[in-house]
């Protein structure tokens, strides 16, 4: 269970989050949508304890990710960063198997490599790439390696920051299916940020729409098109006319 209540976050004079409330139940998939620059990535960073909110409360399975106990929860969390954030000094398979090569979940290297290759295949990457370095891969391939790393240790909670941007439509659907499978078959709790409406429809149980620093609308996927929220209506229509400006 992820419980975010009344979270404020500002960077200097830039007030990004102004009282965000969000609940995600175990084994459910929440998709956060919203215009560019509205603070979606900042929410995920707060959830992971990478950025400390100015005020408000965050609990992941009852643990505050900004407290000293954060390691208890972080070992059960996977994260796909918007930019991938692969370790460019390590080969692909060591990136994917990072948790199995270091720290508490350490196992022997050849086992770790086998797991890494299996995960790479799940995101549609051949095993011949395992020994390449991230810089030798295309943008979309790097994104998929990062995804493989996020799911490598079978986490209970996974955050995906734009999992399908930079992918072709076929590969995007492979990833959408993968995320759905993780939620339905393995009971993972997923929070996904995406701009891709097709993805929203494939992945989401529930949808939250962030605008002007607050969650403007939240509901089940089938209610998404019936909402009367003027911001959400414009967003879903992709129209340039409406309350959401085009200069941001």
């Amino acid at each position: 269970m992820i419980d975010v209540s009344n979270v404020y976050k500002s960077f200097g004079q830039n007030h990004v989050l102004k009282g965000v409330n969000l609940k995600v139940h175990d084994g459910k998939s929440m998709v956060i949508i919203g215009a560019s620059g509205q603070g979606k990535s900042v929410i995920l960073k707060c959830l992971l304890g990478l950025t400390k909110p100015n005020s408000g409360k965050i609990l992941l399975n009852g643990v505050d990710p900004n407290s000293a106990q954060k390691n208890i929860i972080l070992s059960k969390v996977g994260m796909l960063f918007q930019g991938g954030a692969l370790f460019d000094s390590l080969p692909i398979w060591q990136n994917v198997a990072f948790r199995y090569l270091h720290g508490k979940q350490k196992i022997n290297a050849s086992e770790a490599r086998k797991i890494a290759i299996k995960k790479l295949e799940r995101v549609g990457l051949e095993k011949s790439f395992a020994d390449n370095f991230p810089s030798q891969l295309s943008g979309g391939m790097q994104k998929r390696v990062a995804l493989a790393r996020a799911i490598a240790t079978q986490p209970e909670i996974i955050f995906f920051d734009e999992p399908t941007t930079g992918l072709d439509p076929i590969m995007a659907q492979v990833i959408n299916n993968l995320i759905r499978e993780l939620v339905v078959e393995l009971g993972v709790t997923a929070v996904t940020i995406t701009h891709d409406i097709q993805s929203v429809r494939s992945i989401a149980d529930e949808v939250a729409f962030l605008h002007n620093g607050v969650i403007q609308w939240t509901g089940y996927l089938n209610q998404l098109d019936k909402s009367n929220n003027k911001y959400l209506k414009q967003f879903m229509a992709g129209s340039t006319d409406g309350p959401i400006g085009t200069l941001r």
């Binding site: 960073k45 992971l48 304890g49 990478l50 390691n71 972080l74 070992s75 969390v77 996977g78 994260m79 960063f81 930019g83 954030a85 692969l86 370790f87 460019d88 000094s89 990072f98 948790r99 270091h102 720290g103 508490k104 790393r149």
Partner: protein, 258 residues
């Protein structure tokens, strides 16, 4: 006038918060040295990068410095007919002062910059954030191995540099200044005391810590973009160099005035 005072006050406050940040960073690093896990692989690769790959730079610098020192001392000594002090002064000067300081400065230029650029790039591309989410403490994984590697290898580099510097003096002394080669070698060693050598090595260890800490500190607080990485690299080299020269003075005072 008020503007100037406000400006000065602001700069002073920024400076204080910077020093505070640095102290907190050092405390965190030293607290992390004592607790497991220890990343062996990162440590060995740091040993290679900081120690082994710095050998050529340090060696060449020391060789030419030793040679130039021999020429200078010969010219100076000739003014009061004391040319024969060349070998012993070259040896003492290299071992006590020039070996550690020049070695330290060369390693600072090579290593502090590369550490700051590497860690800074990792910070900018969110790799440091990724480390934390993978339950790995960035200080333990990135800083501690580099610090220990620098602490161990810079004294060794200083030792090698000392010997090569003395060799440089010997080559110049024998080929240019017509010293007898046996007498040169005997005089080099005869007046050298063990503490001369050890003090230089201790300086090397301190300089190693300064280099690694400055590289890591400025890398970790690197700001976004290529410009941020450039700034971090520059600050790391400049502050490591200045701190090395300052520490050298205080260590020399502590060791040799009593």
């Amino acid at each position: 006038m008020i503007g100037l005072t406000a400006q000065t006050g602001r700069i002073f406050l920024t400076f204080c918060s910077f020093i505070g940040e640095l102290i907190i960073f050092c405390v965190r690093v030293f607290a992390n040295i004592l607790t497991p896990p220890f990343y062996m692989r990162a440590f060995f690769s740091s040993l290679i990068h900081i120690g082994w790959l710095s050998l050529p730079v340090v060696g060449i610098t020391a060789f030419f410095t030793g040679g130039a020192l021999a020429l200078q001392i010969y010219a100076g000594g000739a003014r009061f007919n004391a040319e024969e002090v060349v070998p012993s002064i070259v040896a003492i000067g290299m071992v006590r002062e020039l070996g550690p300081v020049l070695g330290g400065l060369m390693v600072a230029a090579r290593v502090a910059s590369s550490i700051a650029a590497e860690i800074g790039t990792m910070k900018v591309t969110e790799q440091i954030d990724a480390l934390s989410t993978l339950s790995t403490d960035p200080i333990k994984y990135l800083v501690v191995p580099r610090l220990i590697a620098a602490f161990l290898t810079v004294p060794l580099l200083v030792g090698v540099g000392d010997s090569i510097g003395i060799l440089g003096g010997y080559v110049v002394g024998v080929t240019q200044l017509e010293f007898n080669n046996t007498i040169y070698l005997i005089n080099s060693i005869n007046y050298l005391e063990l503490w001369d050598i050890l003090s230089g090595l201790v300086k090397g260890a301190v300089f190693g810590c300064i280099i690694a800490l400055m590289g890591c500190f400025f890398g970790m607080r690197c700001e976004k973009g290529a410009r941020g990485v450039g700034q971090a690299t520059k600050s790391a080299v400049v502050s490591a160099s200045v701190l090395i020269l300052a520490a050298n003075y205080f260590l020399t005072e502590a060791f040799f005035t009593s």
